[in-house]
């Protein structure tokens, strides 16, 4: 069974090479079909791996048969645990949906788009499965480099500028990570996660280990869009082609937070980095991210930009789940990752339908333009409600687990705040749904012209074919609740966090004894959904009904809140130098807080 582990990475790479090799030979629909089938195959293989790992413990695959000698790792290993394999399967499923959605979109570029996307898939599968720090870095780099190319693909001014900002900030992230790896290697002489963990545990964390941790985690936070590392995200996500955005917001950003969790539990859990400092740091960073992302999302009129900032907000919630440093919180985070990926992917696909069918993405210019697409509108509104906190689906289950873990660690007051931030992002989406699909809200005036350039994505693709993956993803989000997904994720989180057992399995070949799964949530709390939904519906109604309120009241409200929004707007100024300055500030905060402790 463990031979499947390298195949999940190798198969998409080989298919990509074949596709690009014969780019001009394939009939026009072929690359679409081949790519979707490949993604589906990877998903099936990863599901098998996850099942096997859940039964027998982590599967360890040593490349070239270079097994450890006397407890010292020599070769490079894939360590397939249920969480990693599940993550790879999820990635492949979203890719498959994205390929179906983009059917016929990229005919002119022949198979080049599909080849890039398959390399992207291989990189993410490897990132989720690897058990070696440098391998982790290489897949991280591969993921970034492909993403840079896919962002600038349209070769129009805004796409190019977005891609430049994206590339510069994320390249700096890669350098930070490499420096962190160098420091850790200098200390321990190891690159294997298990070997590193064994070498670091038992000592108190000195400056060098803390610096290395801060560099690694900072690099992942850049990709994971955590405040103040998040500035690049909207510039990149609002200009990339919609099928690529589905991947960007749905998985590449969350998978970076997954990578941070992987690094913490696989390497640093026993290293003496004090949980007493790390937990509040991560939880507060997450909360700040959730609030900032929600507020900025609300200000956007470009649908894709709005969705990008809502991703920032949700990454904050995910970070809170991971940052509680408990198996329960992590299980919540993983469920949240699944639910968020499905919903956000579907929402970006709706954006893609608007771009293809209505030739626009600006909410105000598109007022009423979506009336001909009722199903699309329903999907968009449903996505908004789910993000706001509708008490069904995987995302809701994840949120409940995170809330329970937060309560267990003395952060009970965070639950309503996080629910409200979900409401903020939901409000932006519902406002858009009302305006675009129901023509609610005031008539746009002359000055309401959109600031962005004309853009339109490949037309004359059948709308039903684009609706198909949207429906499937939303159905998955709602239906998977009926299967024991939640219990499976809790088991996966338990073995993910059982550092000692994993190390013994990898290095000594010890037999695996499954750790106890964290408890589930028995009692449904209705408080969170009520707060989230009332914030979402309330704000959406206020914004759409703005012209019905007395003029003075609106002016007072603008005066009271305007300074906050204009300050936030000024911060997201599109200048890459400022982004880099913020990034360094964030790094100093992380390093400083950990060093003082």
């Amino acid at each position: 069974m463990d031979f499947l582990a390298p195949l999940t990475v190798a198969l998409p790479l080989v298919v990509a090479a074949i596709l690009i090799g014969g780019a001009h030979l394939w009939p026009s629909q072929w690359p679409d079909a081949v790519a979707a089938l490949t993604a589906a195959t990877v998903a099936i293989m990863a599901v098998f791996l996850a099942g096997a790992a859940a039964k027998a413990g982590p599967l360890v695959y040593w490349f070239g048969g270079w097994t450890p000698r006397h407890g010292i790792a020599i070769g490079i290993a894939f360590v397939v645990d249920p969480a990693g394999a599940g993550c790879a399967a999820f990635v492949a499923v979203i890719f498959c949906a994205s390929f179906v959605f983009s059917w016929g979109y990229f005919d002119q570029v022949h198979a080049r788009y599909h080849a890039l996307m398959l390399i992207f898939l291989a990189a993410m599968a490897g990132f989720a499965l690897t058990g070696d720090l440098f391998n982790f870095f290489v897949f991280f780099e591969l993921m970034s480099t492909v993403a840079f190319a896919l962002t600038g693909y349209r070769l129009e001014a805004s796409a190019l500028e977005g891609a430049l900002n994206f590339t510069v900030t994320n390249a700096i992230g890669s350098f930070l990570m490499l420096a962190g790896i160098g420091l850790l290697y200098g200390r321990t002489g190891a690159l294997n996660f298990a070997q590193l963990s064994r070498a670091l545990s038992g000592h108190s964390a000195d400056g060098l280990v803390i610096l290395a941790f801060a560099l690694l985690i900072g690099a992942l936070f850049i990709k994971g869009a955590i405040v103040p590392f998040h500035f690049w995200i909207a510039d990149a996500h609002s200009v990339a082609p919609s099928p690529v955005c589905v991947i960007f917001s749905g998985i590449i950003v969350p998978i970076a937070i997954f990578g941070a969790a992987r690094l913490y539990w696989s390497v640093f859990a026993g290293s003496g980095i004090a949980q007493a400092q790390l937990r509040p740091l991560l939880v507060w960073l997450g909360t700040a991210t959730a609030v900032t992302g929600g507020l900025v999302a609300l200000m956007q009129r470009d649908v894709k930009r709005l969705l990008a900032f809502s991703t920032v907000s949700h990454m904050g919630v995910l970070l809170v789940g991971v940052g509680l440093l408990s198996a329960g919180g992590l299980a919540g985070g993983m469920l949240y990752l699944l639910g968020h990926g499905l919903v956000k992917g579907a929402l970006f696909m709706v954006g893609g339908i608007l771009l293809a069918s209505c030739a626009g993405i600006d909410e105000i210019e598109l007022r009423g333009a979506g009336k001909a697409f009722p199903l699309t509108g329903i999907a968009y509104a449903l996505g908004g409600l789910l993000l706001a906190g509708l008490p069904v689906g995987l995302e809701h289950q994840g949120r409940e687990l995170i809330d329970a873990a937060a309560e267990a660690h003395g952060y009970a007051f965070l639950a309503p705040i996080l629910s409200a931030t979900g409401g903020l992002t939901g409000a932006g989406i519902l406002r858009g749904a009302g305006r675009i699909f129901l023509a609610l809200g005031p008539e746009p005036g002359e000055e309401q012209q959109s600031p962005s350039e004309e853009e339109r994505e490949q037309q004359d693709r059948p709308v039903w074919l684009m609706l198909l993956p949207i429906g499937a993803m939303l159905a998955c989000e709602l239906m998977l609740q009926a299967f024991p997904t939640e219990a499976a994720v809790r088991v996966a989180a338990a073995s993910f966090t059982a550092t000692g057992s994993v190390v013994a399995t990898v290095l000594d070949g010890a037999t695996w004894s499954p750790p106890p799964a964290p408890p589930g949530v028995t009692e449904t709390q209705m408080m969170g959904p009520i707060i989230g939904l009332s914030v979402a519906l309330g704000i959406a109604a206020l914004e759409l009904g703005r012209h019905h309120f007395p003029r003075n009241l609106v002016r007072v409200a603008d005066l009271a809140l305007g300074w906050l929004f204009s300050a936030l707007d000024r911060l997201h100024n599109g200048i890459v130098g400022d982004y880099v300055a913020w990034l360094m500030l964030g790094l100093l905060v992380i390093g400083g807080v950990l060093a003082i402790g």
């Binding site: 977005g162 390249a171 700096i172 490499l178 420096a179 600031p451 100024n573 200048i575 130098g577």
Partner: protein
């Protein structure tokens, strides 16, 4: 290890970042990015350095004689490949931006802003 070996990469890192933050031209900015990148290479190579040791090639001296750590060199080599790709991509993007906007000043190129 000598502490000066850490000071040099730190200096390269900081000066490169200063360049990026204050840059008024994207080609200059990309150059600064490679300075930051080289800071990590210097760090890695000094981590693997051993005083008086030779290159980790045992063709012309006996197996077992002291050699510097080949692992970090492999890491650096891998990253140089990726770094070259990213730099080439960035320069290509910059060229295309210049064709469309006629400027490469980051302060004037602001995505999705009028």
């Amino acid at each position: 290890m000598n502490h000066a070996a850490f000071l040099l990469p730190a200096w390269l890192f900081v000066i490169g970042l200063y360049g990026i933050i204050t840059s008024r031209h994207f080609v200059h900015l990309i150059g600064c990015l490679t300075v930051v990148q080289s800071s990590t290479y210097v760090l890695l190579l000094s981590v693997g350095y051993r005083t008086g040791a030779g290159a980790p090639i045992f063709a012309d001296h006996p197996v077992g004689s002291p050699a510097v750590d080949p692992v970090v060199q492999a890491l650096v080599l891998t990253d140089i490949v990726v770094g070259a790709t990213v730099t080439a991509l960035l320069l290509a993007l910059a060229l295309q931006v210049h064709k469309r906007k006629g400027t490469l000043d980051p302060q004037r190129l602001r995505p999705l802003r009028p």
